[in-house]
C-alpha cells in the first residue's frame, strides 16, 4: 500500500474533498500532527508594503533552488535557503474600485468590493470588501480550537497608516463590510498587549508612597473617622503584598522570555520616525509571539497609495507619487529600487529577530514555526497591474518547501495561493473568496 508522506500528497492522490479531509484529519489514526505529541505551533504574518515593485530588480531570473537574489531582495540573502518567491500569482478580482483599492481590498480576501462611494483615480467607486480576509479566516479557525487558541488570536500592526478609514487603508477584514483597523501607534499596541501588566507594575511601584501619605491624611481626621481610613489602608497593604507575589511570579516567567518589551520614550507618529516605529512594532510582534498572544498577524506599512517620504534614504518625494513615474525616469526608478529595498530590510529584520528567538516551549526558533508573507497591492506601480503580485515567503510555519524561486508561467489566480495558506494552517477549503477563481484548487507544488 502506498504511504503518503504529507497530508497534501494524501489529499491530492486520494481525491479526498476538502470537507471530507477536515473530517478525516480529526481521526487520530490519520492525524499527522497528533502522532508526534504536541502539535507544532504554526504562525503566519502578512507584511504589506505599497505601490508595486520594480520587477526587474525584484524577481529572480533563475527559478528553482539555484535562484538569484536581485537588488531589492538582497537584504534577505542570509535567509536564501528559507525563502520562497512566487512569481506569476495574479489578483484577478474584477468589479468596482480602482486598481489600488482592489489591490489591497481583494489581496487577502480574494473577493470583489461592494458598490460604494469611494472613487479612486479611475474605474468605478466602491466600498469595503465582500468577504473575510485569509488572516482572519485562519484566526477564527485557531480560536475555535483549544489547542490553537491564544489571548488575541490575531494582531493587526500598522506603521503610519493614515487616520482615515477607507478602502486604501484596510487589508484585513473580519467579514463582509467589516474592515479591521490596524494599530499603528506602538504605544497603543503596547497597551493592548501589556497595558494591564504595566499598570500592575506601576501600581506596585507607587503603593509605598500611597501608604506613607495615608498616614499623614489620618492626622487630618477625627478618631471616629479614622476607622474607614484604617480599613482602606489595610486593604492597600494587602494589595501591596499580592502585587509583590504576582510580579515575582511574572519575573520568573520573564526568564523564559515573557519580558514586557521596553519601548523608547515619546516617539511621535510622524513620517521621519517610520524606521523607528517599524522597529518598535516588529519587536512587539516578536515578543507577542513569545508570549503566545497570537499566531496570526498582519503588518501593514503605510497604506495602498501610501506616501511615505523616505528622507532617511535621501528621498524627498512621496512613494506613491514616485511610483507613477515612467521607467524611463532613471532617477525615480533608482529611488523606487531603494524604497523597496528598504521594505525588504524590514522583512529581513523581522526574519532575523524571529530566527534568533528560541521557541519558548519547544525546539528551534520562532522562525521555524512562522511564515512571513511579504506582499503588495500591485505588481508594478506605474502600470497598476495586479499580475505578478509580489509574494515573498520566509520561514517554515506553513511547511512549504523553501529555498526556491517559483514561476507560475501564464499566471495563477491568487485565490489559489490563499487556499494553500489556509490548507497549510490545517484548514483545507474548497474555495476562498470568489469561487470562480478557485476551480483548480490550492497551488499544488508548495508543500514538500
Amino acid at each position: 500500500m502506498k504511504r503518503f508522506t504529507s497530508r497534501r500528497e494524501f489529499l491530492v492522490n486520494t481525491g479526498v474533498s476538502a470537507a471530507a479531509a477536515n473530517f478525516l484529519f480529526s481521526l487520530p489514526s490519520l492525524g499527522w500532527a497528533a502522532s508526534s505529541g504536541t502539535p507544532k505551533k504554526k504562525r503566519m504574518v502578512f507584511i504589506f508594503s505599497p505601490n508595486g515593485v520594480i520587477p526587474d530588480h525584484f524577481w529572480p531570473s533563475q527559478t528553482g533552488k539555484d535562484f538569484d537574489l536581485k537588488r531589492i531582495l538582497q537584504p534577505l540573502a542570509d535567509f536564501k535557503s528559507r525563502m520562497l518567491t512566487l512569481h506569476g500569482v495574479c489578483n484577478r478580482i474584477k468589479g468596482d474600485g480602482d486598481g489600488h483599492m482592489r489591490g489591497i481590498g481583494c489581496l487577502l480576501t480574494g473577493i470583489e468590493l461592494f458598490p460604494g462611494d469611494v472613487q479612486g483615480g479611475s474605474d468605478t467607486p466602491a466600498g469595503w470588501s465582500k468577504g473575510i480576509s485569509i488572516d482572519q479566516h485562519i484566526k477564527n479557525h485557531f480560536q475555535s480550537n483549544p489547542d490553537t487558541q491564544t489571548r488575541f488570536g490575531s494582531l493587526e500592526f500598522g506603521v503610519m497608516v493614515p487616520e482615515r478609514a477607507d478602502t486604501w487603508t484596510r487589508m484585513s477584514y473580519a467579514g463582509p463590510n467589516q474592515p479591521v483597523a490596524p494599530i499603528d501607534n506602538p504605544y497603543l499596541m503596547f497597551d493592548k498587549l501589556y497595558g494591564q501588566t504595566k499598570n500592575r507594575e506601576l501600581l506596585a511601584s507607587v503603593l509605598d508612597e500611597l501608604t506613607a501619605d495615608f498616614q499623614k491624611v489620618q492626622q487630618l481626621v477625627s478618631n471616629e473617622d479614622r476607622r474607614l481610613l484604617n480599613d482602606h489602608l489595610d486593604m492597600v497593604r494587602e494589595l501591596e503584598v499580592e502585587l509583590k507575589t504576582e510580579l515575582a511570579q511574572a519575573t520568573k516567567v520573564d526568564k523564559v522570555g515573557h519580558a514586557v518589551p521596553h519601548l523608547p520614550a515619546n516617539v511621535e507618529e510622524v513620517n521621519n520616525n517610520i524606521p523607528q516605529i517599524c522597529k518598535m512594532q516588529m519587536d512587539m510582534l516578536v515578543s507577542s509571539f513569545v508570549a503566545d498572544f497570537a499566531r496570526v498577524a498582519t503588518f501593514q506599512i503605510t497604506n495602498s497609495v501610501g506616501e511615505p517620504k523616505m528622507r532617511w534614504l535621501d528621498i524627498e518625494e512621496g512613494h506613491h507619487h514616485l511610483s507613477h513615474e515612467p521607467d524611463s525616469n532613471e532617477e525615480a526608478y533608482e529611488k523606487l529600487i531603494k524604497i523597496n529595498t528598504w521594505y525588504c530590510e524590514q522583512v529581513a529584520y523581522l526574519a532575523k529577530k524571529l530566527a534568533e528567538t528560541p521557541e519558548p516551549d519547544g525546539q528551534g526558533s520562532l522562525l521555524d514555526n512562522t511564515t512571513l508573507v511579504w506582499t503588495n497591492e500591485l505588481g508594478k506601480g506605474n502600470s497598476h497591474t495586479r499580475n505578478n503580485i509580489p509574494f515573498v515567503l520566509v520561514g517554515e510555519g506553513c511547511g512549504f518547501s523553501m529555498g526556491r524561486a517559483v514561476d507560475y508561467k501564464g499566471g495563477v489566480a491568487h485565490n489559489r495561493l490563499l487556499m494553500s495558506f489556509s490548507e497549510s494552517m490545517g484548514i483545507p477549503v474548497k474555495s476562498f473568496g470568489n469561487p470562480d477563481y478557485c476551480g483548480d484548487g490550492p497551488l499544488g507544488d508548495l508543500i514538500v
Binding site: P115, D117, Q119, P125, W128, N177, L210, D213, E224, L239
Partner: protein
C-alpha cells in the same frame, strides 16, 4: 404577672434593603450619651409627662427597660417607632400590662404613651438620645464619575445652560465644505431625513451634497446609552469632543447602513458632537439618501434623539468615565461611600488608568499648546500640568511637599511622558486626598465651603473658574456669600441633573424596573410607551422646578402634562398634544380635572400596579413611606395577591380588604389600604376609570397624621390637595431632598435642621429652588474653628 407591650418597633433594615427611613440613628458609639440623658417634656406638658413617667417606671420598665431599650428574657426589642401618641395609647389601653390590661386605662394610658413618645419612642426622641453625626465617607460611584468629568472640565471648560433646542445644520452644494457653496443654514429640530433621490434643499443637486450638523447632546440621566446612526451615505460622527471620532463611516459600502456605538454618559453635561454627511456623485447607481440619529437611553428603546435633548451649539469637550464602578451602599435610603473593598479598589485603579489615557491624549497636548510662549522645558511643563491637575483633584492647593511626593518624584522616574502621567494619576487618583472629599480640615474656610458646595450640588469637586477664584479671594466665608454661590451653581446642568435624580428618589423611580402590562387587557402598552411616560413625567417635574414660582404644591396640583402621539393614542383625548403636527414630547392640548401632577401620572400609577390590576397596597406603601415620610414594618410574611379570577364579583378594593382583614395584618394595613384606595380611580396603566366591572369605584380613604390628626379623602383630588398642604408630606419632601443632596441625614447638622428647613420652605411659598439653596447653605457653611492638635469631629462637621 406582667405582660409585654407589643408596639411596632423601629423598622429593622438589612444592608441591601432599599427602604426610606425618616431618620437614621447610629446606635453603636454613643451609649454614654444615653446614660447622661435626662428625659424631659418638650411640649411643656409637665404634669402629664411626670404622671406617665411614674406609671412607666412602675408598670412597664421591668419588661421594657428604663428607657424602652428592652430587657433580655422579657421583651428584648427596643420600643421605638413611628406610631402616634394616640395609637400607642390605644395599644396600652387594650393590651398592657400584658394579661392585666385593666391596670392601665384611659388617662393613664394616654399619660404613659405621651411620656414614652417624648422620652424615647419617637424618632425625634431617639435622635436626641443618639445625635447622628456627619458620617465620614469616600466618594460614591456617582461622585467619582462626576469628579473625574469635572477634573477634565477644569481644562476644557463647562457649558452654560442653553434654552435653544435642535441641531445647527449647514447644507452645501457639492460633496465638501466650501463656504460659497453653502445653500442652507438652519437649526434642524432632530436628525431624521429621508431625501430619497431628491435634493435636500433649494440650490443643491440631488447627486452631490454635503450636510454638516453640529450640536450637543444632553443625556437624560447617568447610564449606558447606545447611539445609533442609520445612514445610506458616507458619514462621520465625532462625539464628546469635535475631533474625537465616534463612528467612522467614511466609506459608503454595499447595504451597510446601521451603525451602533455604546457609551456610558454622565448626566449634567453637554456632549458636543458633529456629523459630516456626504452624498458623493458617482458613475455607478446612487443610493437614496437618508439619515437618522437615534439613541437607546438607559432602560429605554430606540428612538430618534428628541429635540429637547439636542442643543444647537457645540459646548466644550466632555469626558465621561467608562469604567464600571460597583454600586454603593443604599441601606440608609441614599447612597453612601462606606464600603472599602477589593472590588471598589480595583474600580478606582481602572478609573485612574482611564483618566490617565484621556489626560495623555487630550488634556496634556492642550496644556502644552497653552504654554507655547513659556520657556521650552518639556519636563517642567509636564510637572506644571500634573500639579494643576492634582490641585483640583485634591480640592486644595498642592504644597511643595505634596508636589514633590505626587508629581516630581514620579515624573523623574520615567522618561516617557505618557508613563509619567499614568504614574502620577495612579498615585493621585487612588490617594485619600482625592477619594475622601471631607479630608480638608487644614484648608481655608472658603476652600472647604466650596468643596461642600460642589459635593452637595454637583456630587463633584470645585473645578469652575469662577468658583476657584472665589476660593482664592476667600469670598466664601459669610452666609450671604455662600448663598449667592449656591444660587449660581443651582443654575448649572450638573445641579439640574442631580436634582432630577433627587425627584426620582422621592418618587421611588430612581432604579426603574421594567414595566410590562397584560397585553390582552392593555394592548399597546409596550416598552416604548413606558419610556415615553418616563420622559413625560421628567418633563413635568422639570417644568415645575424651573418655573418662576418653583412651587412644590404644583407637583400635586398641575392639571397639564407632557405627551406624545403614542401616549395620546393609548390614553385618549385627555392626552392629545397641543400641536398634532409636531413630533416628540410636548404639552397636552388641554388641562384635565382628572390629573393631579405627579401623583396620578400614568407612569407612577402603572409602576404601582400589577400586570393586570391595580395594587392599592403598593400605592399605599408608597404614599406612607415616600410621600408622607412615615415608616412601616415589613409584612410578617410574603403574600401573593388574591387572584381576581377566584373572586370575580369583588372589586380590587374588596379583594384587598378581604385579604388583609386578619387582625395581625391590620396594624399596618389599616394605614396602607386607607391611603392606597384613594387612587382606585386610576387603573393598572393609570387610565381614569369610574367603574370596575359593574361596580362604581369607591375611592374614599383616610390617614392619621404625625400630629395625630385624622384626615379623610374622597379620591385623588382630596389626596393630592392634602399632600400639597400636609406638613408630613412637606417634611418628607424636604428630608428626601436633603438626604439626596448631602448624603447625610439632616439631624447630623443639628436636631432642629429638618424642622427649621421645613418651616422656612413653608414661609418661602414652598419654593423648591430656594429650598435647595438653603440645604446647600446648611451643608456647606464652615465656621472658623481653629484646628485642634488632634482634630475632632467638631472641626470636620463644620458646625458652630
Amino acid at each position: 404577672m406582667r405582660r409585654k407591650l407589643r408596639l411596632p418597633p423601629r423598622l429593622p433594615i438589612g444592608p441591601r434593603l432599599r427602604l426610606p427611613l425618616g431618620v437614621w440613628i447610629p446606635l453603636a458609639f454613643f451609649g454614654w450619651l444615653a446614660t447622661s440623658q435626662t428625659a424631659r417634656s418638650v411640649d411643656g406638658e409637665g404634669a402629664l409627662f411626670e404622671k406617665g413617667k411614674a406609671i412607666y417606671a412602675s408598670q412597664c420598665a421591668s419588661c421594657h427597660g428604663e428607657r424602652g431599650e428592652g430587657v433580655s428574657g422579657a421583651y428584648p426589642n427596643a420600643l421605638t417607632g413611628d406610631s402616634t401618641i394616640s395609637e400607642i395609647a390605644k395599644v396600652v389601653d387594650e393590651t398592657m400590662p400584658e394579661g392585666e390590661p385593666e391596670k392601665c386605662k384611659g388617662e393613664d394610658a394616654q399619660a404613659v404613651a405621651a411620656y414614652m413618645h417624648s422620652a424615647f419612642y419617637s424618632l425625634e426622641a431617639q435622635a436626641k438620645i443618639n445625635p447622628p453625626r456627619i458620617a465620614f465617607a469616600r466618594l460614591t460611584a456617582n461622585q467619582l464619575r462626576n469628579s473625574l468629568s469635572d477634573l477634565y472640565g477644569r481644562f476644557s471648560g463647562f457649558s452654560e445652560v442653553k434654552a435653544e433646542r435642535g441641531v445647527r445644520a449647514q447644507y452645501f452644494e457639492g460633496d465638501r465644505y466650501k463656504k460659497e457653496n453653502e445653500k442652507i443654514a438652519r437649526v434642524d429640530p432632530v436628525i431624521e431625513f429621508d431625501f430619497g433621490k431628491e435634493s435636500p434643499g433649494e440650490g443643491i443637486s440631488a447627486d452631490s451634497f454635503y450636510i454638516y450638523w453640529e450640536g450637543s447632546l444632553l443625556p437624560e440621566r447617568t447610564g449606558r446609552y447606545e447611539i445609533v446612526v442609520n445612514s445610506s451615505c458616507s458619514f462621520k460622527m465625532s462625539f464628546g469632543k469635535l475631533d474625537r471620532i465616534f463612528i467612522d463611516n467614511h466609506v459608503q459600502s454595499g447595504d451597510k447602513t446601521e451603525f451602533r456605538q455604546s457609551i456610558y454618559l454622565t448626566a449634567g453635561r453637554l456632549y458636543p458632537f458633529k456629523i459630516d454627511f456626504i452624498q458623493r456623485k458617482r458613475k455607478t447607481e446612487l443610493p437614496p439618501a437618508r439619515i437618522r440619529l437615534s439613541w437607546v437611553p438607559p432602560g429605554g428603546v430606540e428612538q430618534t434623539i428628541p429635540e429637547n435633548h439636542l442643543i444647537p451649539s457645540a459646548g466644550p469637550a466632555t469626558f465621561s468615565l467608562q469604567a464600571a464602578l460597583p454600586p454603593d451602599d443604599r441601606s440608609y435610603g441614599f447612597e453612601r461611600g462606606l464600603a472599602v473593598n477589593k472590588q471598589w479598589d480595583e474600580s478606582t485603579t481602572a478609573s485612574a488608568v482611564e483618566f490617565a489615557q484621556i489626560a495623555t491624549s487630550e488634556l496634556y497636548p492642550r496644556y502644552l499648546r497653552s504654554q507655547k510662549d513659556k520657556p521650552n522645558d518639556q519636563r517642567q511643563i509636564l510637572k506644571g500640568f500634573l500639579e494643576q491637575l492634582l490641585s483640583v483633584a485634591f480640592r486644595g492647593g498642592l504644597d511643595p511637599e505634596l508636589a514633590k511626593l505626587y508629581v516630581h518624584e514620579q515624573v523623574d522616574q520615567t522618561e516617557d511622558d505618557a508613563e509619567a502621567i499614568r504614574r502620577v494619576l495612579l498615585l493621585g487618583l487612588k490617594s485619600p486626598r482625592f477619594l475622601y472629599p471631607l479630608v480638608d480640615a487644614d484648608k481655608t474656610i472658603s476652600r472647604r465651603t466650596a468643596n461642600r458646595l460642589a459635593l452637595t450640588l454637583f456630587d463633584s469637586l470645585p473645578a469652575d473658574e469662577w468658583l476657584l477664584k472665589k476660593i482664592e479671594k476667600n469670598e466664601l466665608e459669610s452666609e450671604s456669600q455662600v448663598r449667592e454661590a449656591a444660587k449660581r451653581m443651582l443654575g448649572d446642568y450638573r445641579a439640574r441633573a442631580k436634582l432630577l435624580d433627587g425627584f426620582h428618589e422621592w418618587l421611588n423611580l430612581s432604579q426603574p424596573a421594567e414595566l410590562t402590562k397584560n397585553q390582552e387587557l392593555y394592548p399597546g402598552f409596550d416598552s416604548q410607551l413606558a419610556m415615553e411616560l418616563r420622559q413625560s413625567l421628567r418633563a413635568m417635574i422639570e417644568e415645575v422646578v424651573w418655573s418662576d414660582t418653583s412651587d412644590y404644591r404644583e407637583l400635586f396640583r398641575s392639571k397639564s402634562a407632557y405627551t406624545t402621539s403614542k401616549i395620546a393614542s393609548f390614553y385618549g383625548d385627555e392626552w392629545s398634544p397641543a400641536d398634532p403636527n409636531k413630533k416628540g414630547l410636548q404639552k397636552t392640548a388641554a388641562e384635565s380635572d382628572r390629573r393631579y401632577g405627579v401623583l396620578t401620572h400614568p407612569l407612577l400609577m402603572s409602576q404601582l400596579a400589577y400586570h393586570d390590576t391595580t395594587s392599592p397596597i403598593h400605592r399605599g406603601v408608597f404614599l406612607i413611606r415616600f410621600m408622607l415620610g412615615r415608616t412601616l414594618r415589613p409584612p410578617n410574611e410574603a403574600f401573593s395577591p388574591l387572584s381576581p379570577d377566584l373572586h370575580p364579583n369583588l372589586t380590587t378594593r374588596e379583594r384587598v380588604t378581604l385579604q388583609t382583614s386578619p387582625q395581625n395584618c391590620q396594624a399596618c394595613h389599616s394605614k396602607i389600604n386607607a391611603l392606597g384606595f384613594a387612587l382606585e380611580n386610576y387603573d393598572a396603566v393609570g387610565r381614569y376609570r369610574a367603574v370596575e366591572g359593574e361596580k362604581t369605584i369607591d375611592a374614599t380613604g383616610s390617614y392619621r397624621s404625625r400630629d395625630d390628626l385624622p384626615i379623610t379623602f374622597e379620591g385623588a383630588s382630596d389626596l393630592a390637595n392634602y399632600l400639597a398642604d400636609s406638613p408630613d408630606a412637606q417634611r418628607a419632601f424636604v428630608n428626601k431632598l436633603f438626604q439626596h443632596l448631602a448624603k447625610q441625614p439632616p439631624d447630623a447638622y443639628g436636631l432642629d435642621t429638618l424642622k427649621n428647613l421645613t418651616d422656612q420652605f413653608r414661609r418661602n411659598g414652598y419654593n423648591i429652588r430656594d429650598l435647595i439653596v438653603e440645604i446647600a447653605v446648611i451643608t456647606s457653611r464652615v465656621h472658623a474653628t481653629p484646628l485642634p492638635p488632634n482634630p475632632t469631629s467638631v472641626a470636620l462637621k463644620g458646625q458652630p
